[in-house]
Amino acid sequence: MAIEKTDVVIVGVGAAGGILAAELGKAGMKVIGLERGPRLKTSDFEPHDELRYFQRQDLRPDPKRMPVTWRPNAKATAHPIPSQNNGNQAGGGTVHYGAVSWRFHEDDFRVRSQTIERYGADAIPEGSSIIDWPLSYAELEPYYERAEYELGVSGKAGNLKGKKVDGGNVFEASRQRDYPLPPLLNDQVGANFEPAARNLGLHPFPTPHAILSQRYKDRPGCTYCGFCQAFGCHVGAKSSILVTKLPEADATGNFKLITGAMCYRVNSDNSGKVTGVSYYGPDRSDNTIEADIVILAPFIYDNVRLLLLSKTEKFPDGLANSSGHVGRHIMAHIGARAFAAFDDRHVNVYMGPSAQKNSLDDYNADNFDHKDLGFIRGAQISAGPAGLEGGPLGTAMSMNPPPGVPRWGAAYRDFFAKYYTRHTALTGQTENLPYADQAIDLDPNVRDAWGLPAPRMTYDWRRPNEKARVEFIQKKMVEIGRAMGAAQVWTAPFGPGAPGAHHQGGTRMGSEPHESVVNKYSQSWDVPNLFIMGSSTHPTMSGFNPTLTIQALAYMTAEAIVNRYRKNPGALI
């Protein structure tokens, strides 16, 4: 058993962990990062191989070795989900993600208060466990800006210092600075979507992406190859943590990355502090790192699992869980989809950055009046490939044919042969609410390749509020598809309640220790030298993708550790 000592150990070096590694290293702290996967290079991503990366998910956890199980309710038996959203290598999910990079809206940080102020307390759906975030947009804004400029995000401002800017997202919260890079080039998806949406009185705009539209910080601009979501970028234009923060961390001389390391326990002592972590090496060796600060930054499954696995006599319900909220209030985006197929033009949806190419924010957050609609909160609507990746295999697996066309045989062949290059999908990414019974715990029946119990999700999105929202959004998407001049517009059926994308919650942040796991610095209320990072801390999820918010929070935590915690270790609040 090897024992190493360091100032800080970070478990999981992805969207949040990579930022903390670089920033704490720059401040002179000795940092060890543990990563269960490999550290890949840009040259590893040369193969534009849909089978390997989209279908077989080579950059994501192998569900056979690292199962995550799901059941719709506590009476059902859980089974492994077929694919996971998160990454499995240094850089985490930012290596393969679609790089959609939003700032949340002002009201995304105060869903409970906003809803009560505008619609009354009765508008909060029964059983929903929404709380306000313990910080405001204004407080996080400098860190959003820092993430956009340090990592490299391309987009067009829609609200610059309170002034609305046509062509950007006019619903976005006020920003002090425009994006560091202009938006990515429009393609035929945008050329069809934007005029149609404008004709309907809506406000379309190019989706902001952490993908370089031109050369920036010695990295080249995007080649528009289209092998984007699910793939690593073959030129390094995607602003993944792998090509942005990890080189910065290396340059400090204070950072050591250990790959192939599966962390299985956070160690603690009787004083109520954590002392480090234990992990299995690739050779199955059992190793320990002793550290003054432990930062957990894997995906939400392992944040929850590690806390539950690290229970002691002092922490009988799991580490950092005196509130009993560890593993609760899980959320996931559901992708409501419609398809628009054209007879008179090609769209060539396989070209260009593939995830959520162009967006609408008119029906997101509380940007529209929900009075008498039967639901609260909304969805971000976007246009792009059905599978967020436009190759023919991804499209065949993701696009259900229109009514009257079977899934196979000559009629399907002719449909797909004609419309593969002549269609676009519309996706509504819905802000599903947290409910206390949506949870992650330890599966009593399924274990991973290391013998650890699998994280088990109990989740069913089909709540009255959520179903009403999805129906509303689907109608809007069909209207947009028709306005685009499509020969056919149809919708996709829904799955059986399973969680969709961007799983969040499980260690939520809050203002009160009794109803949350961490404070706004992602610091455990119970254990002051333990920080729990990532989207598991989100109390509500927004209709927007979470990564830029994860990154802004990581910058904020890094600053608080360097400027305050280091001088005076203890609770930051």
Binding site: L51, N88, T223, M351, P392, A396, R413
Partner: protein
Amino acid sequence: MSKHDEGRRAFLVALGAGAAATTALVPDALAKSNHQHQADAPAMDHAGMAGMSARHGAFFNDEDSRTIAAFTERLMPGAPGKPGATDADVLNYIDLALAGPYADEQYFYRCGVAQLDAHCTQSYGKPFRNLTSAQQDETIAALEQGKAPAFVWPTAQAFFNTVHKHTMEGLFADPIYGGNKDFAGWRLVGFPGAQPEFTPEDMQSREAFTREPIIGLQVRAKSVKG
């Protein structure tokens, strides 16, 4: 996982030297002689012929290979100017996959094919591979709808869904994996393959992309003309 993947790749590349991954490099003369050889085979219906002409040998026996070749061809049938599963050598893709990365699905296929033949023998007095195309379509529809009582495990729908998924993979995955022969799947739908870049003009065009030939991971086609 990466180690496993490298092993899989090495395996496929090694196989490809003699079989699938280099199909586009097979000289026309050799391809013609293969067809000539098949013409000498005993006469049988089209689906059976498809089974004989498709390469296999890594996993399936001859009978089962005919079954899978016929099944996948009915899922994505070929027609003049419209390459189908046989043209794309989907059988070869599935055969190699079951011998390698999908080895844990071998038993699933064994049981599935046995149940399929039991169902067809009950319904038509013959195994699937010897049915007419119309009977095969009727059978596949019954599986898709879960109306094939001979199936226990895998269920009829699970078997249908798996073969359907693997057929799409064999049609549309890069030829390095043994299917999508001569870019048959990509030619069917108009996909130009692993292009390294698209220009602003490409993205502003409302026409099909023809600026470059189809590009695969290992070989470049002479032309995108299908």
